[in-house]
């Protein structure tokens, strides 16, 4: 079993296709939607985790491409330089995935790597510049 994170870019003409249904049904893949921006007659974006066998993932990605939808694998990851952080919380204001949050007891910043979509909004929002992205 393998897990990948991928962004799907839908042309306006393809947003009606039930892509995730087929990935689950036909390729035996687990799909977790992290972010969805899909509207009728508009270009759309979906960010998903895909879990499954190597072969099934490969076939699933080929299926996505065959449907006229471009995809991009996540290769970067966010690095939180915790030692330099003052835990102010400014980054949590912009985090769309809920990966960055405040612990309501200790008021420590918390970072859930699994939820992170590497959108990089926090990189600029952090006043101390402690967020960066691995190349």
């Amino acid at each position: 079993m393998k897990k990948i994170k991928v962004s799907l870019y839908y042309p306006a003409s393809e947003v009606t296709k039930p892509i995730t249904y087929h990935l689950i049904k036909d390729f035996d893949l687990q799909i977790n939607i992290l972010h969805a921006d899909i509207s009728l007659n508009k270009e759309g974006k979906l960010v998903i985790d895909i879990i499954g066998d190597d072969g099934n993932i490969e076939a699933g990605l080929k299926y996505i491409e065959d449907q006229g939808i471009k995809y991009k694998l996540f290769t970067k990851s966010l690095i939180w330089q915790e030692n330099e952080c003052v835990h102010c919380g400014a980054c949590t204001a912009v985090c769309p995935s809920g990966a960055l949050g405040m612990d309501r007891q200790s008021w420590n910043l918390t970072f859930d790597k699994e939820k992170c979509m590497v959108c990089e909004l926090c990189v600029k929002a952090c006043p101390l510049n402690v967020m960066c992205v691995s190349i």
Binding site: V86, H87, A93, R104
Partner: protein
């Protein structure tokens, strides 16, 4: 119970017998023991805050070179400092931007680097005088080789502050962080029930001359802060419902620690400085104790719409800090996520450290030599000129 004087409390501190609690802890102590008993037992309550405070800066005296120079213009690591005072005095303000590095480095970074003990490039120019013949100088300074280097912050420790949101369809970049379109978030900046002036709302113990923890050093309240506005609308508990009192603070940066002073950059807004401040409040009597036991649920502020580019922005609703701290506030029937801009974790660290310093007899409370003003009439700036009158 009777009244405990500043002197009596200091005698207890000196003999290592003072009972000290943070402004968080005092809430539970009062709940458990009641006001009477708690006021009898507890001598000092420590308060603190760690937030971005733009109105901060450092006065430096560089000492005289040979031949000497009457510095007319000064740059520190390419950041302009104000030199319109005596020959080798200058003031580096936190928000000043580097002429070489632009918005990525500024006065706040110079201050943090000075406190860290780093060398700072000093470049100064002069027109030369009979008594100060040198016309320019390039050298390096640090906190050990300058004479005085003291922080003098005209406005710190705001007593309460607005919360911010954005009803427009564009992202806004502000000193309260990034505000997402269509009320996508609400930001706020306070340590709430731990905040110094929210625990002494009528400035009974905090006044001119009060000894404070500032950036790791022992400093003092020098004056009322700029925009000090004690006349702000107050709740039944006397706590202001928006920005009210402020403090002008002074402290020796040679005694400071970068754990408590950090440079900050706000995207598309500018540079600011996180300053860690702690103020001990002597429990003079029951009334003082009740005020230090204030809770987030009894402290209110207003959420303002920062998309209105005007001095008087519309307030969308009044909200308690308990609700803001819960992670969501209700706005127009929707649950909107909230985000803090000042670090409660660091504020707690400072309140705890100050508590230990007082317990160890290292930090005494001080009676103000004069009170902060308790009333005022805030002025605004009317535009009376026509455009481009500079020339």
């Amino acid at each position: 119970m009777g009244y405990k004087s500043f002197d009596e409390i200091n005698e207890k501190i000196k003999s290592g017998k003072a009972v000290v609690a943070t402004a968080d802890e005092i809430i539970d102590i009062v709940a458990e023991k009641g006001v009477k008993q708690a006021a009898k037992e507890v001598d000092v309550v420590t308060t603190a805050t760690f937030g971005p405070m733009c109105s901060s800066g450092v006065f430096i005296n560089f000492g005289h070179s040979d031949p000497p120079i009457r510095m007319a213009k000064v740059w520190l690591n390419d950041v302009p400092a104000y030199a319109g005072i005596a020959a080798v005095d200058a003031y580096i303000g936190a928000t000043e931007v580097s002429e070489a590095a632009g918005g990525t480095y500024g006065g706040a970074h110079v201050i943090e680097d000075l406190i860290a003990g780093k060398d700072i490039k000093l470049y100064a120019e002069s027109y030369g005088t009979d008594c100060y013949p040198r016309k320019d100088i390039t050298t390096y300074i640090n906190k050990s080789n300058v004479n005085q280097a003291f922080m003098f912050n005209p406005r710190n420790a705001y007593q309460n502050y607005s919360a911010a949101t954005n009803t427009s369809d564009k992202t806004l970049y502000t000193y309260l962080g990034t505000l997402l379109p269509n009320c996508g978030n609400v930001s706020y900046s306070t340590s709430g029930q731990l905040s110094p002036l929210l625990n002494d709302p009528n400035y009974r113990t905090i006044g001119i001359g009060t000894r404070v923890f500032i950036g790791g050093a022992q400093g003092y309240v020098a004056w009322e802060g700029t925009q000090h506005n004690p006349g702000q609308k107050r709740g039944e508990n006397g706590v202001p419902m928006g920005g009210a009192g402020t403090l002008a603070l002074i402290g020796d940066i040679k005694q400071m620690d970068t754990r408590f002073v950090r440079a900050a950059i706000y995207e598309k807004y500018g540079i600011s400085l996180f300053v860690g401040i702690g103020i001990p409040i002597p429990v003079l009597d029951e009334e003082m104790l009740i005020q230090t036991a204030v809770k987030d649920k009894d402290i209110f502020t207003n959420i303002y719409d920062y998309s209105v580019p005007s001095r008087s922005r519309p307030a969308l609703r009044t909200v308690s800090y308990e609700e803001l701290r819960s992670g969501f506030v209700e706005l127009n029937g929707r649950k909107v996520p909230t985000a803090p801009m000042s670090s409660l974790k660091k504020a707690r660290e400072i309140a705890e450290l100050l508590k230990q310093q007082i317990r160890n007899g290292e930090f005494l409370v001080s009676q103000p030599v004069a009170s902060l003003p308790s009333e005022n009439q805030p002025n605004s700036l009317d535009v009376r000129g026509t455009e481009n009158e500079k020339d």
